[in-house]
Amino acid sequence: MRSREVTALLRKEFRELAGARAMLFVAAAIGPLVAHAYQTAVAAFAEASGAGGGAAALSQGLSPLDGIVAPTFGAYATAATLLFPFVAIRIVSAEKESGAHALALQAAPNAGVIVGIKFLALLGAWLLLWLPGLAALAFWHHAGGHLAAPETLGVLLGHLLRGALVSALGMACAAVTESGASAAVLALAVTIGGWALDFAATVQGGWVAEVARFTPDAALRTFERGEIDANIVAVTVLAVMMLLAVSSLWLDPARPRAVRRRRLALLAMMMLVGGPAAGRLRHSWDVSEDRRNSFDASDVRALGAITEPLHIEVHLGAADPRLADLERDVFRKLRRTVPRVSITYAAQTSTGLFEGAGRGYGEVWYELGGARVMSRSSVPAIVLETIYALAHITPPPPVAVAYPGYPARLNVPAWQLVFLLALWPLCVGGLYVVPRRITSS
């Protein structure tokens, strides 16, 4: 690859992005969005810590991951869903419509290089947009608030992947449609489709729930609870690569339609094969400081020693809160701990309210080494007791809770709000206007 063309294209993309009104609007809007999210989060955290004079919550329940990091960066989830796709669409459709793409194609090694460079520029822009969010976290830390690096970085990784996915999606939508407006409609349709899938998963369960684990919102929630799941990272990266490949395919006008159709079919096949394969990756990392995604270390050791397959059959509907408790407190941790675990969701209805009593609704069957036992409990200690009994393992003694919690009765000073609400948008506006004045003078 020739570095002269790549350098020129990359510099041009950054310049175009910096001067684009769509980017200016997103950059200016992100300050107030973060300001609102940060102020609300700090106030709620202070209240829970007893700032109002009432009783404070148990300190073990006061985690800055839930209380500060995730909600403050929640502003970026809004931006990624509703604003940034349009920046990504513009970077492709403006050049397609103006004829600039036809000129660039005659210098770049191929359309894929142009797509890659645009994608890199978008990722760079996405990271620059993080400045207000990172400033808010720095304010919190400076004021004495606690931050744990692994779980904070985990949330940032989630937002980085979200930005990459949104960028690739916006570019692909712009590549396959004739105009920016059509691309915007297509991108919104995909976003709404993701929401619909999330909703369907909560009432339907089964394969829909399995697929819905990888929607942008659901994937981000995994990072926000302090877990880095290899399958979510792999599926997201695969989706990004597929979307970029689609963009490259459509942005090369010299490819005959039949070739495009064949390659698109090939990409779809790769996604159909690679997606489920990536989705079956089992490794995950619990980066939360309170280790909420893991059993106690002694339980992890004991469960890890179970070599026989553990099969669980759940007769609970997808919308049943007991299943939600089991998923959060037991099944998710078991999947991370027991080497061979499989779970079958056997309920016939979503809530169980209208399911026949004779079908054993509410039962959870655990099967290990040919023995089978039923429990109706969703309490982790009781479920573990059941599994230990099946595996003929003596339950390890419980470990004392090590997480202290970090109550903090802090306020957001006015100067921090002024920075996020006014100074940041003013800086962005200045960066947009001043170079243009200099250029045109």
Partner: protein
Amino acid sequence: MQLDVLSLSRRFGAVQALRDVSFRATAGEIVGLIGPNGAGKSTLLACVAGLDAPDAGIVRIDGAEASAIARRHALFYLPDGIAPWADQSAAWVLDYAAALFGAREAWRDALAPALGLVPFASQRVGALSKGQRKRVLLALALLVPRAVTLIDEPFDGLDPRQARALSELLRERSAAGRTFVLSIHAMGEATRTCDRHVLLHDGRVLADGTLPALLQRAALPDDGGLEEVFLALT
């Protein structure tokens, strides 16, 4: 560099835009693709440049068949009616093109005075008039160091003085060995600028040759023009 276009065909749905089109351009030659609107001139240039996929036919460069990507890097094609990088200044666009394509000449030296770019070089491309934008893009095309340059409607939007200056500039560059293939619907400009003419009508080549050869083929007197040839052959 010699460019051979052999039997190119291109269909858009029910419309056959190009039918078995062939022509040749040799080093230092200015070839005019002459035809009315809808004759297939722009489609032909895009196919030759590797920016559209013909349904049939091949393009050879110096005798060897060239793929679409090879053509994109050997030729340069300036489409008509484009307004690239509209938010940037004309000077920035030309500096960027020079960096991107590795231009060996500085556009401010010869091209800017010849095409009259100096008064509006610092203005945004999006704020330029049609003729000003055209001149910026013509400078861009001439800046790109490729042996063969394809330009769609180079005289469109230019006033007579500017058209004459461009014609002289193209003649000057072709004398230095550069080949131009120009799509033109204005017969007067074509006569003044081009060495040879390829007459296109309904996606077919009607005739190909110098003006005297075309006059002879159409059985017209020697003092006739390209317009009479075209009318006689269609």
